[in-house]
């Protein structure tokens, strides 16, 4: 076997977006030796794309806000499928996590009396999102990046983890390659935190960056961990539509938070039909379906979307509150949003499902394997509220860091072994595409998968379509077993895609099969053939995906029971 380099840490964090950075900072603060491994350069992770804000019941603008209301809103947004304990911890701890960022140098926009300003967002009862214009994610990642590099975290940039390794039933390491050289690298670790984000690159129209190939979901699945609720994919209601080059790029919900109005080609403010009370600030699942329906029924804008107008707020206000949106439309679409409406259409944005974790420690069902941020499941149930992702990654990033450090502290150095056969298998798998002169181009299969997911597993779903989708994915899996690439192993995106594609196929199959199983509509999962909630049968269970003798096993498990005092909060119609 060819030589590879080895690094040893107590805790290895995979992914350096907000969740990974927050986890690494915490694990390091707890005294663990921490390695942070990321596919891109530090500070480029998808968190930079988060725009509107971070949800936390600080009560700076609406003083009546408190964690209970935030908890209530989150559970209702998630259509009661959320893990109640995660939603509770999240609502309780988010304010502290946000203030902590300020202590690390973050500069949020201010209220008149000098506190952190907060804006309205869909599904949130009060003005709750701390923000910096419309570039909140960038502010967060820079702050965490600064904190991380000054607190003893070792960063391994442009390094992709392809396999997790186990000693018996415990995690013992991670294996991958350097993107630049293509050389292999082994990380010995007592615990591993997955913070790899989402899966959007399985879909053609998405707001997600190239990195979002479901690596963490796939690594966890292959290591034997449970995935839950994979059918719940959030289609953000407002992605760009035109020109084709920018189709899917996010238009922040802050446009609606700041008063943006949605209309169809007849000038009708159609949200009056779908959610007269909350209108444009309804939850994302509702707004996405509404826009989709308007277009399907022939009332779409010229490029097949809806109009979103913010021009009535005045040029100065729009440029100050939504500077990125102003520039994004001006430069990519030659549209001046201070004068004319945008065209928007749903775009694949976020996966609510993910690795099943213990709410307190973020540990998965595999010993020593932790997960936080988008790759973890449970927190958001069937639909995530805007702003709850940035707060999620802070709250559970910290918890995962603490959990993984605590777990690692109980294991002696050199106690865990790396299985050489596992390692050899990983190397063999990675080198296969170089030995397949008859294989297919991975880019071709990736495009086919994206088409399949869009066509069969989109905003509205039916049994037949899902069935066909599953069969298509099966065919693609077969094709993807014979891939061919050209060039050397030095910074070779084609080679990188071969493994990413396998991850995307695992995730896509999980999504399709969970969606096929859940015969009801709930949150982001809309079945045309089962348009209503079925609380009795499906409102009480999570979908579960696991690996069983090499095959994907699909099942359900009962939702954790919520304590009475929390039930009262949820049922109280809090306001």
């Amino acid at each position: 076997m060819e030589k590879y380099e080895t690094h040893t840490h107590d805790v290895i964090v995979i992914g350096a977006g907000g969740a990974g950075l927050r986890a690494a900072i915490e694990a390091s603060a707890q005294g663990a030796s921490v390695g942070l491994v990321c596919k891109s350069l530090l500070g480029k992770a998808h968190t930079v794309m988060a725009e509107g804000g971070v949800a936390a019941a600080l009560g700076n603008v609406d003083s009546k806000d408190d964690w209970k209301t935030h908890f209530h809103d989150t559970m209702h947004g998630g259509k009661m499928l959320n893990n109640w304990r995660m939603a509770q911890l999240h609502a309780q701890e988010a304010p502290e996590r946000v203030k902590e960022l300020e202590h690390w140098g973050a500069l949020f926009d201010r209220t008149k009396d000098g506190n952190i300003n907060q804006r309205a967002f869909g599904g949130h009862t009060w003005k709750r999102l701390a923000h910096v214009g419309d570039r909140t994610g960038l502010e967060m990642i820079r702050t965490l990046q600064d904190r991380g590099i000054h607190t003893g975290v070792d960063v391994y940039m442009e390094c992709t983890i392809t396999h997790l390794l186990k000693d018996g039933d415990r995690i013992s390491g991670a294996f991958g390659y350097w993107r630049e050289s293509g050389r292999f690298v082994l990380f010995n670790a007592k615990s591993i935190i997955l913070a790899t984000g989402g899966i959007g690159k399985s879909f053609k129209v998405t707001s997600n960056s190239w990195e979002y190939t479901g690596d963490g979901h796939a690594l966890a699945y292959e290591a034997g961990a449970d995935l839950i609720d994979m059918e719940f994919i959030q289609f953000h209601p407002t992605g760009m539509v035109w020109p084709p080059s920018v189709k899917g790029i996010l238009v922040t919900e802050a446009v609606r938070g700041e008063g943006g109005i949605l209309t169809n080609k007849d000038g009708e403010r159609f949200m009056e039909k779908y959610d007269p009370e909350r209108m444009e600030l309804s939850t994302r699942d509702v707004v996405a379906r509404s826009i989709y329906t308007e277009v399907q029924e022939g009332r779409g804008s010229p490029h097949g979307g809806a109009f979103l107008d913010i021009s009535h707020r005045g040029a100065e206000y729009v440029k100050k509150k939504l500077p990125s949106m102003y520039h994004q439309f001006m430069e990519f679409a030659e549209i001046d949003i201070t004068k004319e409406p945008m065209e928007v259409y749903p775009t694949t944005h976020y996966v609510m499902g993910g690795v099943r974790v213990d709410p307190e420690t973020a540990q998965s069902t595999v010993k020593g394997l932790f997960a936080c941020g988008e790759v973890a499941g449970g927190m958001h149930g069937a639909n995530r509220l805007g702003g709850n992702s940035l707060s999620d990654l802070l709250v559970f990033g910290k918890r995962a860091g603490a959990g993984a450090a605590e777990y690692a502290s109980k294991i002696k150095d050199n106690e865990l072994k790396i299985d050489d056969r596992e390692l050899e298998g990983a190397v063999k798998e990675m080198l296969e595409p170089y030995e397949n002169p008859q294989g297919e181009n991975p880019y071709t299969i990736h495009q086919a998968l994206q088409e399949t997911m869009g066509d069969y597993i989109g905003v509205f779903r039916t049994k037949e379509k899902l069935h066909e989708g599953i069969e298509e994915i099966d065919v693609l899996k077969q094709r993807a077993s014979q891939l061919k690439i050209e060039g050397s192993r030095m910074f070779n995106p084609g080679w990188h895609l071969c493994k990413d594609l396998k991850s995307m196929l695992i995730v896509s199959e999980a999504i399709a099969r969970c969606a096929h199983q859940r015969e009801e509509s709930r949150g982001a999962h809309s079945r045309v053939d089962f348009p209503n909630y079925n609380d009795e049968k499906w409102g009480t269970v999570n979908s579960v995906i696991s690996k069983d003798n090499g095959d994907m096993k699909l099942s359900t498990s009962p939702l954790p029971q919520m304590p009475e005092e929390l039930k009262r909060i949820v049922e109280g119609g809090y306001k």
Partner: protein
């Protein structure tokens, strides 16, 4: 369908050459779209960094027709299409492969800058007008285009003497933070080498975020350094009162 010709630099530290490709043009297409089309259809191993494709992550910097730009933000219809578009890696940093360069120096320098430090009795009240000064610099997406065009780094390769414009706004952002109490002036004068900048404003002109690097960051920092070290009156006061 009309096509665009691109001549993309392909090679590594041992050398390389431009390779010509033809790409069908779609409305609104940007240079990065063309590069990704080439990857998917002709050369799967063409190396390029990119992440968000929305001008928010600063990964895809390159030199297009000789001008340093974000490839995701450069529309083909803003370029003359009667001749091939050249795309080269940024010049200031060593090439790894094709359009990917080794920018690790920036990360090493950044680590040397002392982080935000606040006083024990801070009440965390700040006014919008006060945070906006630093917020301008915190818009930086770290595309390093300003580092690429800075002639001290690009033409003279004085990386041991000058931190470059990106790091100047990083320091400015911390120095102008309303609650920061750290003093980075000694660093500015010595290790960061602010005296090297002679205000040609190339960095400001190139910044895709429109940050006024020279006027709002470098010049005020130069003034702070000058006031502290070179103003005779200030010098005497400092000597008497201690710093």
């Amino acid at each position: 369908m009309s096509v665009a010709k691109l001549r993309i630099y392909r090679g590594d530290s041992n050398g390389g050459q431009e390779v010509e490709y033809e790409v069908p043009i779609e409305e609104g297409m940007v240079v990065l779209d063309a590069i990704l089309f080439i990857q998917a259809n002709y050369d799967g191993d063409l190396a390029v960094r990119w992440n968000c494709k929305a001008a928010k992550c600063g990964s895809c910097s390159a030199e297009i027709n000789g001008m340093p730009k974000l490839t995701c933000k450069t529309r083909l219809d803003t370029l003359p299409l009667d001749k091939p578009i050249t795309v080269h890696p940024v010049k200031t940093f060593p090439i790894m492969k094709d359009l990917v360069t080794d920018v690790s120096w920036n990360y090493e320098v950044r680590k040397k800058i002392p982080p935000f430090k606040y006083a024990e009795d801070t009440d965390w009240k700040m006014q919008q007008v006060d945070v906006e000064r630093s917020q301008e610099f915190r818009k930086c997406i770290e595309c390093f285009l300003c580092q690429d065009v800075c002639h001290i780094l690009r033409d003279h390769n004085e990386k041991n003497e000058f931190f470059g414009p990106r790091m100047m706004i990083k320091i400015a952002e911390l120095e102008m933070h309303p609650l920061d109490i750290e003093d980075r002036k000694p660093m500015l004068r010595e290790a960061a080498g602010i005296g090297y900048c002679n205000i040609t404003k190339c960095c400001t002109d190139i910044c895709p975020e429109g940050i006024h690097i020279t006027d709002n960051a470098i010049i005020p920092l130069k003034e702070r350094v000058a006031d502290t070290y070179f103003d005779p009156l200030q010098w005497i006061i400092t000597k008497i009162k201690g710093s």
